[in-house]
């Protein structure tokens, strides 16, 4: 009797979850997710933060405002002003946020839902290809990426990767001594012979750096290329890889706003087409938020 009840209960829970997911997909969930992105991971300038918070408040009170191009246009204009003022110093993913706000503005101009969804899907696909193939090209032509030097330096010298490096078994002392030598070289009160220092990566650092380099490069190439084909099978493969990328990369990578943006783009691409991929993208937004927990401090004991 208990077994039957449990089965019925779990079937009912699954049905309710499925129903909830269907309702989320039917709603303007891409717009809501974008607004959340703006409010939580937007530009840090006071005027953009204020505009984002006011927009969020307005949509919470009057949800239909999320369909108004004026709302998105206002956010896009404020974001663009910020970008123009900081054009050479803004992080790349801030540009991406600004483009996406303009996409949301344009998409909400036509009356028909079909045309709106087409603009959102087309641009989501374009920007995913642009991000991943653009990154792959820059990495391929970079003087320090393909040799593994870039990630070796990150593991040794970048404090943000210190906890991850320790988890992979790197001796913390190697990083500390490498940073000390780097500080000597950049200190104008010190002369370093021939302006040359030796860093202290061991074989493990070298191996981990090379593995991350290979993973990062080839997964990005694969996602970008697969999305180019616009076929069901290649799209599923690309989305699975993209989800894998989001779930794994943003644990150590300290650019969570970019991870959240990828989740929104991925969700926008599959929303109308796949229930389970939509669910996984929504889950990935939650995962990215959880990656903010201070796990680095726990690892480092600070």
């Amino acid at each position: 009797m208990t077994g039957v009840t449990a089965t019925v209960g779990s079937a009912s829970l699954a049905a309710r979850l499925s129903q909830t997911l269907a309702e989320i997909r039917k709603a303007d969930s891409v717009a809501y997710l974008t607004l959340f992105l703006v409010a939580v991971f937007g530009f840090t300038s006071w005027y953009f933060a204020l505009a984002g918070q006011l927009a969020l408040l307005a949509v919470l009170l009057v949800p239909s405002l999320a369909k108004r191009p004026a709302l998105w246009g206002l956010l896009a204009i404020v974001g663009s002003i910020t970008l123009v003022l900081e054009r050479d110093l803004a992080d790349n993913h801030k540009y991406l946020l600004c483009y996406w706000l303009w996409v949301m503005c344009l998409a909400h101009i036509p009356d028909g839902r079909e045309q709106r969804d087409e603009i959102i899907r087309f641009n989501a696909r374009f920007f995913l290809i642009f991000i991943f193939l653009g990154a792959a090209v820059q990495k391929f032509v970079s003087s320090s990426y393909m040799s593994g030097a870039m990630f070796e330096l990150e593991l040794l010298l970048d404090g943000r990767f210190q906890a991850f490096a320790q988890l992979t078994g790197m001796d913390a002392g190697l990083g500390v001594e490498s940073v000390r030598r780097l500080l000597l070289l950049s200190n104008p009160y010190v002369q370093v012979v021939d302006s040359k220092i030796m860093l202290l990566p061991d074989d493990r650092v070298h191996l981990v750096a090379n593995l991350i380099t290979l993973y990062d490069f080839y997964v990005q190439v694969a996602i970008g290329v697969l999305l180019l084909f616009r076929r069901a099978a290649t799209d599923i493969a690309a989305n699975v890889l993209l989800l894998f990328f989001i779930f794994t990369t943003y644990i150590p990578a300290p650019v969570l706003g970019f991870g959240f943006t990828l989740s929104v783009l991925g969700y926008a691409l599959v929303k109308e087409r796949s229930q389970w991929l939509s669910a996984l993208y929504l889950l990935s937004t939650v995962a990215v938020l959880f990656y903010q927990i201070p796990w680095r401090d726990w690892v480092l004991g600070t």
């Binding site: 970008l83 054009r87 050479d88 110093l89 803004a90 992080d91 790349n92 993913h93 540009y95 483009y99 303009w102 344009l106 101009i109 045309q115 603009i119 087309f122 641009n123 374009f126 920007f127 642009f130 991943f132 653009g134 990154a135 820059q138 990495k139 970079s142 320090s144 990426y145 030097a149 870039m150 990630f151 070796e152 330096l153 990150e154 010298l157 970048d158 001594e177 000390r180 030598r181 780097l182 000597l184 070289l185 950049s186 200190n187 104008p188 009160y189 010190v190 002369q191 370093v192 012979v193 021939d194 302006s195 040359k196 220092i197 030796m198 860093l199 202290l200 990566p201 750096a209 650019v255």
Partner: protein
């Protein structure tokens, strides 16, 4: 009519991608020609290069009698300007940092710091013969305090070879703010 609708549809679909591609091409150009960081400016080169770890700047004040003193302790605002220089060492950014330093009155410490010599293993080889004052930012310079110094900013780039484990700094450019 149909042509116009089709055109409108394609404009709506492609206008933002076209802007993104243009900005990205500009970023690539500035990155190659003017050392703009791959992390900045609207390309998609995050984690493509390690500019933050392979660029540094050394700032000096030079005096009419030939003395040249380094500045290590910049103000918070000047540290921000220095970070901008390292991300994009353009004439404009270098000049902004130099102007800010020139607009500050600097005080010297009472003791002097020897310019010690270190080897590539980070160990001191010998004490330096030259001794320099440690300089501190005092306050914004007023009109009644003429700047009796010029500002020099050295922009350094480093390369790292994972095989030899050598990290080598090279002076890429010296910017001098003249009178």
């Amino acid at each position: 009519m149909r042509f116009s609708q089709g055109l409108e549809r394609w404009v709506m679909l492609c206008v933002i991608p076209a802007i993104a591609l243009t900005v990205s091409a500009r970023q690539l150009y500035l990155s190659v020609m003017d050392d703009l960081s791959t992390w900045k400016g609207g390309g998609m080169g995050m984690f493509a290069g390690s500019e933050a770890l392979t660029r540094f700047a050394k700032v000096y004040l030079t005096f009419p009698d030939g003395r040249r003193h380094p500045l290590l302790r910049l103000t918070d605002k000047q540290e921000e300007l220095k970070a901008q220089v390292l991300n994009y060492p353009s004439e404009r950014n270098l000049r902004a940092l130099a102007n800010s330093i020139r607009a500050t009155t600097w005080w010297a410490s009472t003791t002097r710091v020897p310019l010690n010599v270190f080897g590539r293993d980070g160990q001191k080889i010998r004490d330096g013969t030259e001794q320099l004052y440690d300089l501190y930012a005092a306050h914004p310079r007023t009109a009644s305090e003429p700047a009796e110094f010029r500002v020099e900013i050295e922009y350094w780039k480093a390369t790292y070879d994972p095989k030899t484990r050598e990290y080598i700094g090279v002076l890429a450019r010296t910017f001098k703010l003249e009178d």
